[in-house]
Subunit: 292 residues, 4 copies
Amino acid sequence: MTDDEHSLRIRLREIIFGTDTPAGRGFDIVLLVFIVASVANLMLISVAAIEARVGTLLHALEWGFTVAFSIEYLVRIYAARRRWAYIRSFYGIVDLLSVLPLYLALMLPSAHYLVAIRALRVMRIFRVLKLVRYANDANVLTRSLRHAQRKIQIFLGVLALITVVLGALMYVVEGPVHGFTSIPRSMYWAVVTITTVGYGDIAPGTPLGQALAGIAIMLGYALLAVTGGIITAELTNEIASERQRRQCPHCERSGHEIDAHYCKFCGGALDADEAEDAPADEEQAEARDKLD
Amino acid sequence: MTDDEHSLRIRLREIIFGTDTPAGRGFDIVLLVFIVASVANLMLISVAAIEARVGTLLHALEWGFTVAFSIEYLVRIYAARRRWAYIRSFYGIVDLLSVLPLYLALMLPSAHYLVAIRALRVMRIFRVLKLVRYANDANVLTRSLRHAQRKIQIFLGVLALITVVLGALMYVVEGPVHGFTSIPRSMYWAVVTITTVGYGDIAPGTPLGQALAGIAIMLGYALLAVTGGIITAELTNEIASERQRRQCPHCERSGHEIDAHYCKFCGGALDADEAEDAPADEEQAEARDKLD
Amino acid sequence: MTDDEHSLRIRLREIIFGTDTPAGRGFDIVLLVFIVASVANLMLISVAAIEARVGTLLHALEWGFTVAFSIEYLVRIYAARRRWAYIRSFYGIVDLLSVLPLYLALMLPSAHYLVAIRALRVMRIFRVLKLVRYANDANVLTRSLRHAQRKIQIFLGVLALITVVLGALMYVVEGPVHGFTSIPRSMYWAVVTITTVGYGDIAPGTPLGQALAGIAIMLGYALLAVTGGIITAELTNEIASERQRRQCPHCERSGHEIDAHYCKFCGGALDADEAEDAPADEEQAEARDKLD
Amino acid sequence: MTDDEHSLRIRLREIIFGTDTPAGRGFDIVLLVFIVASVANLMLISVAAIEARVGTLLHALEWGFTVAFSIEYLVRIYAARRRWAYIRSFYGIVDLLSVLPLYLALMLPSAHYLVAIRALRVMRIFRVLKLVRYANDANVLTRSLRHAQRKIQIFLGVLALITVVLGALMYVVEGPVHGFTSIPRSMYWAVVTITTVGYGDIAPGTPLGQALAGIAIMLGYALLAVTGGIITAELTNEIASERQRRQCPHCERSGHEIDAHYCKFCGGALDADEAEDAPADEEQAEARDKLD
């Protein structure tokens, strides 16, 4: 590997993966605009009336976006420090999925609808936004959500259990006349009901079914409201005790926010070893290191 | 009772009720798979199109599961320390109800639908999961829910009161033309409305009814949101003061989580007498004791 | 007023308004049963199929309940310490409204539906339950709700504002074709939508209306969720600081629950002057005092 | 500028922008009544049946209100300290928009519907109410909402992301038969679903679509519930630490409410320099200052 190639890859990496240099920020903003425009373009193509009028233009644009994203994907692979790590990472897969469907569509026309997977690409918008200005809150949210992962699982477990039991009960009570034609369909009704969505495409029609549904809704609603309250109460106390636990090594005062890097009383660094661990983004970390 | 029989029962108890030995864990996992598969099987049977195609196979599987669960039920009775206690316990009844309906169906064909009661069996999934890895959170949730039991009752009381009053009012205002044919039916509408499910199968049609419903929805929504907030606020403070109250007998520091067994500062046992009381599961406790 | 009459009134007051004596508790339970039975009776009467079969019996029962409640009302007036205060109190009006409609119905048959007002009587169930065993929690809830009254008003104000603005906007955008025939009707749609009830009896049909509704729903949902969060957060801190503020005059330790009457550390009375002020119920207080 | 004109403007400013003098309060109340009456009038005009009967009277009233608000607008411009600042302020634009549409309607009859913009005028009701008696809570709410602005943005970001991804998925899975005719329309369905509004005008009809929708609803519901809980938990701790941080400069005790101006322990002013910064309303501040 020549020295020139080496420095080209580092330079590309700074632009594509980094957000600290002006070029890196500029690239992120251009990419963001491209993503939003390409998603908007896909939406417009899906509207029959618009597609009939300006379909040729929109499909040309779509090809333009796909080629641009393909180049971006290849350059990302070229510039990435650990190529396999990038390809197998969440964003690597999203990047591939955002260009693959259209090429596939050329070969098998039935794969045409897969372009919708491109919508996943929108997730990158959020990531860029996160880096630019919402880094703080979004990180706290992500960290809190990961922290509350088990609570979400418990919540989902309770929901799933209610769904199966209630779905089976209503299937027995209502029968196929009012739309409860099978247990899976009854479970669909139970989910729609217990989460208070309530489309009304399936609804109990017999007095017994309505009485049972009424009681189940009240119980489920109260149970979920209080479960939500318990989760909130526990999160509040966990955040409070986490704040309490973080003590400034310089002035020895506690009560710092979870995402604070510096003491709010004396300005000293809260975690001496955080400087290296801080980068919010693995790829960003890669961009900083040298190639061998 | 012979010594052999004695040790057989203890061995069986360890496998069936216990979760500490490899055999006990293995049994739980096999049972879990059987339960999920049997519930999935029941769901498939309920779908007419699938039942028409592979009904014979599914019904054969259903018989297999029923026989397997029957054997499990009988072995549980045989191995249980206090047999009557098991039979009358929540899980004993669930175990019986998960096999009884099919046998009943042989005698009275109209009891056929009762197989849905098997869905209750799914609750055992949650229990096994709880023991394996979610023991902590699920216990806190269960304990919190038991603690907040009165709050749930108050919440349900408020809901029930609004339901009766609003149902009666709308029955008077709307009358039978738009579906409010009786007070019970109006109450069904009131439950569906006040919990924000809102199917739309019954909805106010007169201007007066819509105005009344609109105001009632706003008031009910605000009242329930604030009631939920009050319950959450109280739970937060109760958990906080419960944490405050738990003091380590060794280092005398407080602030321990409700479900902590050891001091997070010095590692000492928080409650000396908890060792015996700790088992999350009565049956598990039984399995540990000797037979007389 | 003779001495006998005097003591009769005191005795009646203890039975009817009091809950401390066995007779008082017994009266409350009988009344509770009567109220539940009379409300259930009214529900059954409203079901046409049942009314056609056993209407004569149910209407006879209805007359029985009305006469019983009439006697109760007259005795309450007779026994009350301050008669006018009782008659004009919330429960006095409820008591009157629970018997008046049937008598009115004798004179003007069109007033027949007014019997639904009897449903208000159900509120007394809650009051009795409160005294028996939920006194603690229900009092805290009532006090908290009164404390959070302004927050509920703000919440309702925000809801009302969104309703008017959104209703007017959708009336302009959608027009009468899809059910938005007038601003009041659009406002009914806006209430049903913003509270997430969503019947679907009126729903936007034009692309512009759907886009506007989609954005409005997202904004309203996020705004109300965060407003609810703010209210909960403030309530939590208010309860916490109220606990902090309550200091035992004996051992000088704070952190007592809002509804605690005695110090949880030393058992001393928290508020020396609360003994007289404590009664949860004005009528109960009256029952204790002597007549002049 | 003459001295007379100068003092006239100051006097007008006190009446129109101020709320401290009896005249200022009186003006606010008259304005409030006018706003409510004019909004009610617009609602009545929109009801065809009422418009047919008393339309002439209502339209005359509408002209009366418009002329009155026009005079108010002109006087406000005349009396304002910094005229451009008022004209470009939120309330200046609302004031203009509440009179402009009717004049425009004279010229271009198609602009007729724009009168609905007048509904924005209702926001002034809230502002006046705020000044009169809800100043405290409303200020705290506004401040909290501004404080939680990023959290609302994150919440909206999560909602928007789910909407795009779920909308695209359902468009692919369900197709145009059940109403998912385009991605924008699918996104409308996704918003209506994920916020639990659930009209039911579009609902999945295929088993795969129902299964996908059921899982998406459960995941979205749990995610949003926990996200709401995290936001509430963070707000609770932020309010708590803000209270902790506010220390009385006189008695050095902390724990004061965010909107407290005086120490609750010693009565001293909490912020010496707040006297000048306190006014809740820029216009009010202007009214107090002298003209140059």
